[in-house]
C-alpha cells in the first residue's frame, strides 16, 4: 500500500486535520493508547499531552475568566478525582487540569458537561478562550462592559463549523478602555472599547487591533479599524477569522499565526480582505472607520490594575483578589474559593491574566473578614499586579515544550523582591517568567521578563539559564539585558532593582525608567 502522495507543501498537522479524524474518548480509554494523530486532534477537545508520558492536561474554556461557583465546585471535585487535585490558572484566564490519565478523560469531560463547562476548543487551531478585562463589569474606567461580548464571541466563533480549522490558534481579547489590561496589542485580535461624542450623543464602539503576538518573532498589533459600532463586534471578529483562515501559512506552523499574515501583507491588505469577507457574507462595511477621532471617555491611569486595591466598583461593591503563588491552586482551595464567592461575593469566581483569582461583588464592610478567610486558605491578599505577583508559566513541571523549571526561579526571586527596601517600588515592577519562546507568560511586555534557555558550558554539558529583558510594554517590548545562568538571576534582579531605586524618577515604573534612560545604567550595574 502506497502512502497517499499529495506533494502539497503543508505541515503534518494539516495532513492529520485534513483526514477529518473525530475522537471517541471512551474508545481511546478502553484501548489505553492515543496515537500521534489522535493526540493532534485531541487538542480541539482541549486535551494536551503532558511532559510526563501518559499524563494529559485539559484546559477548561472560561470566556472572560468567569465561572459560576457551581462550575468552580464541580471543577474542584473533578480535579480531586482525576487530576491529583491540581488546578492551574493561565495568563489567558482559562483553567487547566493536570495529571489526567487517559482512562479518566471521558468521565472528566462528562463531569464538566454536568455544569455546562467544557474543554472543547481549549486548544487546537481554533478561536481560543476569549479573554477580557478581569474587572470588565465594575472597573471605573471602563467604556462598556466587555464581558458579555467576550462570552458572545466565544459562542459565535467557537461554535462556527467553518472556523474550526484555522491555520493555527486565534486569540481574541477585549479591553474596557485604552489602558489595555486585557493586552489587546499582543493578541491576534484586540478589541478596545472606546466612546466618543457625535451630534450631542455618546457613541460606544470598539477600536480593532489585529496581528499582535508573542513568541520568537513578536509583533505589536496594528489598528485595523479605529472605530466600529459596538454591535458590529461579532461580524468583524468573524470576518477577521475568515480572512485568517484563508491567508495563514499552512506549511510552517512557526509562521502561521495572524501576526505573520499582518506583517507579511500589511495591515491595509488585511483590512481589504476583511472588508471583502464582510461583503461576501452580506454584511455592511460603511460604518467601519479608520480615521482617528477624539476619545471622550474618562482618563485612565497607565496601570489601573496596580492602582486599584480592593476597588470599589461602579456597583458600590468591592473586588477582592486572591494572590495565587505560581498560579496553582489545590482542589481544596478552589472549592473554598467557590464557597467564599457564594457567601461574600456574587457567586462567581473570576480568573485574571496574572494567574490569580478574584471574588467580585463583596460588601465593602466584609472585605477584611473575607481576607482573613483567604489567608487561612494559604492564598495571598496583598501585592496584586506588583513586584511579588510574579507570573511563571508551568515550565518543565508539566509542559513538554518548556526548557526550564520556571517555578524554581519564581521561588528564588520571591525572597529577593519582597525585601523591605523595595516597598517604594512595590507596584512599579512586574515580573514574568516563561520557560520557552512561546511566551505563555508574556515576558516581553513587563518590567522584568525571563525566557528560559540553556547555557552551554565548556563541552561538559549545559545548565538552565534565562534571557533577561527589562523595560517591556505591550507596545514596546523589553530590551535584552543578557543571558544568565539561573543561579545568577536572583543576584542580577537585586542589582537591577537597586539601580532602579537609585535612578528612577518620581512615580516611574521600571519600564518608564528604561524608556527614559535606556539599558545603560542597568548594564553597567550588572556587568561592572
Amino acid at each position: 500500500m502506497q502512502r497517499k502522495m499529495t506533494f502539497l507543501l503543508r505541515s503534518e498537522e494539516e495532513e492529520v486535520k485534513d483526514a477529518g479524524l473525530t475522537l471517541d474518548f471512551d474508545e481511546m480509554a478502553r484501548k489505553g493508547v492515543m496515537s500521534k494523530e489522535e493526540k493532534t486532534i485531541a487538542k480541539w477537545y482541549g486535551i494536551y499531552s503532558s511532559r510526563q508520558a501518559g499524563n494529559h492536561m485539559a484546559r477548561v474554556v472560561t470566556p472572560g475568566g468567569v465561572m459560576t461557583s457551581a462550575q468552580a465546585r464541580n471543577i474542584a471535585t473533578l480535579s480531586e478525582k482525576y487530576g491529583q487535585g491540581v488546578l492551574n490558572i493561565t495568563t489567558r484566564q482559562a483553567l487547566q487540569f493536570h495529571w489526567l490519565k487517559l482512562g479518566g478523560l471521558p468521565n472528566l469531560l462528562r463531569g464538566l458537561a454536568e455544569e455546562a463547562s467544557t474543554t472543547m476548543h481549549g486548544c487546537g487551531d481554533v478561536t481560543r478562550n476569549v479573554a477580557a478585562c478581569p474587572l470588565a463589569e465594575t472597573c471605573p474606567y471602563r467604556r462598556t462592559n466587555v464581558l458579555p461580548w467576550a462570552q458572545k464571541l466565544q459562542k459565535e466563533l467557537g461554535d462556527a463549523p467553518d472556523l474550526d480549522n484555522l491555520p493555527r490558534k486565534f486569540k481574541i481579547t477585549l479591553s474596557g478602555c485604552g489602558a489595555g489590561c486585557a493586552q489587546p496589542y499582543i493578541n491576534c485580535l484586540g478589541l478596545v472599547a472606546v466612546e466618543r461624542q457625535r451630534n450631542g450623543k455618546t457613541e460606544k464602539g470598539f477600536q480593532v487591533i489585529a496581528g499582535g503576538g508573542m513568541g520568537w518573532d513578536p509583533y505589536v498589533g496594528q489598528q485595523l479599524f479605529s472605530f466600529v459600532p459596538e454591535h458590529r463586534v461579532v461580524d468583524i471578529a468573524r470576518a477577521v477569522a475568515l480572512t485568517y483562515r484563508d491567508t495563514g501559512d499552512r506549511f510552517n506552523r512557526a509562521t502561521s499565526r495572524l501576526k505573520v499574515v499582518v506583517n507579511l501583507h500589511g495591515i491595509d491588505q488585511v483590512r481589504a480582505w476583511v472588508l471583502e469577507a464582510l461583503t461576501e457574507e452580506g454584511k455592511a462595511t460603511d460604518d467601519l472607520e479608520t480615521a482617528p477621532f477624539e476619545e471622550t471617555g474618562k482618563p485612565y491611569p497607565d496601570r489601573p490594575l496596580s492602582e486599584l486595591d480592593d476597588l470599589a466598583g461602579t456597583d458600590g461593591k468591592a473586588v477582592v483578589r486572591l494572590l495565587v503563588p505560581r498560579g496553582e491552586v489545590t482542589h481544596h482551595q478552589f472549592r473554598q474559593v467557590a464557597e467564599l464567592s457564594e457567601i461574600y461575593g456574587n457567586q462567581r469566581v473570576y480568573t485574571n491574566n496574572r494567574q490569580n483569582l478574584e471574588i467580585h461583588g463583596v460588601e465593602p464592610g466584609q472585605v477584611l473578614e473575607l481576607k482573613d478567610k483567604i489567608q487561612a486558605l494559604g492564598l495571598g491578599t496583598e501585592g496584586f499586579f506588583g513586584i511579588r505577583d510574579i507570573v511563571p508559566c508551568v515550565g518543565t513541571t508539566y509542559c513538554p515544550k518548556a526548557v526550564t523549571e520556571t517555578r524554581s526561579l519564581h521561588d528564588l526571586l520571591l525572597p529577593i523582591v519582597t525585601q523591605d527596601k523595595y516597598k517604594p517600588v512595590d507596584k512599579k515592577v512586574l515580573i514574568n517568567i516563561t520557560g520557552c519562546p512561546n511566551s505563555c507568560s508574556p515576558y516581553r511586555i513587563v518590567d522584568i521578563g525571563f525566557r528560559g534557555m540553556r547555557i552551554r558550558e565548556e563541552e561538559t554539558g549545559s545548565v538552565e539559564g534565562y534571557e533577561m529583558l527589562i523595560g517591556g510594554d505591550q507596545k514596546a517590548f523589553g530590551l535584552k539585558l543578557g543571558e544568565f545562568k539561573k543561579t545568577d538571576c536572583p543576584e542580577i534582579v537585586e542589582t537591577v532593582l537597586d539601580t532602579f531605586l537609585k535612578v528612577r524618577g518620581a512615580d516611574e515604573t521600571l519600564t518608564q525608567t528604561v524608556a527614559r534612560l535606556g539599558l545603560e545604567p542597568f548594564q553597567q550595574a550588572v556587568f561592572q
Binding site: T6, R10, T255, V403, C436, N438, S462, F527
Partner: protein, 611 residues
Amino acid sequence: MKYQYQKAPNQWELSLFTGLGTTALDAKTLAKDVPCQAACPAQTDVPAYIDAIAKGDHAKAYRINLEDNVFPSVLGRVCTRPCETACRHNWTNVSGPVHICHLKRAGADHTPVLPPPLSPWFVPTQKRVAIVGGGPTGLTAARELVRYGHRVTLLEKENHLGGMMVDGIPRFRLPLDQVEREIDLIISSGIEVKLGQNVDAAAIRRLKDEYDAVLVATGTVKPKALDLAQGVSGLLPGLDFMRRYNQGQIEHLEGDVVVIGGGFTAVDCARACARAARRILGSDHNVTITYRRTEHHMAADLEELDEIRFEQIEVRTLATPLKVNTQDGAVVSVTFQRNKLSDKLGSDGKPAIEAIAGSTFDLPCTHLVVAIGQDADWSILPEDLRPEASPTVFTAGEFQTGSSDVIHCVADGKDAADRIDAFLTGQKRRTHHVTVDLVESRTQTGRTRDHDLQRTPAMPLLDLGARVDSTNEVALGHTDAAIQSHATRCYLCNYKFEIDQDKCIHCDWCIDVAPRACIKRTSRIFRDADGAPTDAIEATSAEKATFIYIDSNECIRCGKCQRACPTGAISMRKMERVACASEVSLHDLVAGARAEGKLPQNGWTPLRAKM
C-alpha cells in the same frame, strides 16, 4: 566583567556563514554532505542538475553536466554510476538510490539543440599541445586545454574520434549519433584533428620537439590473452569482437557462443552475441557468459543482469576455464572447473578463487569470446619519453590507469589538462572552492516527505523482437512524468541545515519532529585537524548536553527541524562547488552579477564571516 560565561565554541561545519569557503573544512563538508558529487570522479554537481530537471529546465541540467562531465548524453547511458552507490537514499530510505544516470540522460534527451561550445576561461597563450588518442580522455583534455587558452592538436589512429565510446560499447547501449554530436561540440571549440595517425615512439619524439606538451591517452588496446588457447579459429578477443561488431562486420554467428569474463566488455559481447547468434529470435544456439566470481562481482548491475537473462543468455558463474578443446584447429568446447570464493582477498581487492577439485565440466561452443581485460601498449613510450624522464610528456586515462570507464577517463582528462596548464604556465590557474549561500525561503527546498517516499517507475525497455536490429537502443528513456518523479526524489543534499549554538535553547523540539536520528544531544564533538567533525559523544540527559547537533550524514533535508525551531537557530544554506581563476575575480564576478540583477539578492554577502 561579571556573568561572561566560558562557553564551548559554536559548532559550524563551514568556515563562514555565507560567502566563498576556501578552507579544507569547506571542501570536506561539501564532500560529506553531497556524497553523489564526491563519488563522481568528475565531481558532477548532481543536486544542481537534478533540481534543474525537476524544475523543467533540461537545458540548464545539460549545461551543468557538460561543464562537469563533458559527455552528458553518453554518460547518461553508460556511466558506471558511482554516484548512485553513494546516494543518501541508500541508507535513509528503502527504495534505492535516485536514478541519477537516467536523469542525466533525460536532461540530454530533452536538449535537442546543443548549446554552443563552452567559452574559454583564459585568453590565448600561444602554447601548443599535442594529444595522442581521440577517446574520452583525449577529447576531454583537449576541450579543457582549449578553455585554458592553449592550441590543441588531436591525433587519432582510427578514422573517427570517440575511442572506446564508439568501438567498445555496442550501439544498442549507446547510439552512435549521441556520441557524435557531443564529440562535434568539443571539436567545434577549435581543436585541430588529425585522423588515421598511427603514432609510434618515433612520432611521439617528433611531437615532443614540435609541441610545448604532449599528452598520451591512447587507452588500452592490447587484449589480455588466455594462455590456454593461441591461434585457434573461432577464438575472438572481446575488444576486437566488439569493434568489428560495431562496424557491422559481424552480423551473424552460427553455432554456440561462450563468452569468458565478467567485465563491461564481456557483458556487452554476450549481449551482442545474443543478437548475432539470433538467439533472441528463437535460434537454437546458446550464448553463455562465464565468470569465475559471482554475479555480484560482474560489471552488469542487477537490472542489466535481468536483461541479459531476458535476452536468453545463460550466466554461469564461479567457473574458471581450464582448457580450450579444439578439433581441426577450431574451438569445439571449453573445459571449466567450478571454484568458490575464498574469505581472503586477492591482489585486485576482490575475493580470491579457490578451485573445487574434480568438478570440471565442458561447455561446447563454436565461438569463444575472451574478454578478460586489456592493457595499455607502453611500447609507444620508451623509457626516455615517459613523464618521469621527459617533463613535456604527459599520460592520462586508461593508458595510465589501466582499463576503467568513461567517467574515470573524463575525470582523468580534466586532471591532465590541469597538470599540463600548470606546467605550461608555471602556476595553478584554477582552484575549486565552495560558495555558501543563506537561503531564506518560505517553502524551504520546495520538497515534501511525499517526494522522498515516491515509488518511481522503472526504465521502459525495447521489446525483445525489436532488439534484433542491434542499433535499436534498448533503454527507451523515461516519460516526462517519470522524469519528474525521479528528479523530485532527490533530497537536495547541497542544502545544509545547521544549528547556531548561540541561539539554540535546547528545547529539543527539532529532535521531537525529526524523522530520523539525525539530530542529537551531544556532550562533545570531536574534530580532525581541518575542523571537520569525526565523532560525537551523545548526551544521556539535558544536563550533559552541550550541543544540539544535526548529523548531516543522517539529515534528509526535510526541513522539519527548521520549521519547528522556536528561536530561528536553524539555518538553511546552499553549498555549491565552484571553480575560479582566483578568489578575487570570483567575488567581483558575483558582486557584479548581483548588482546587475542577474543573481538573486537573497542575503548573499561575499565573505561576511560570521564566526
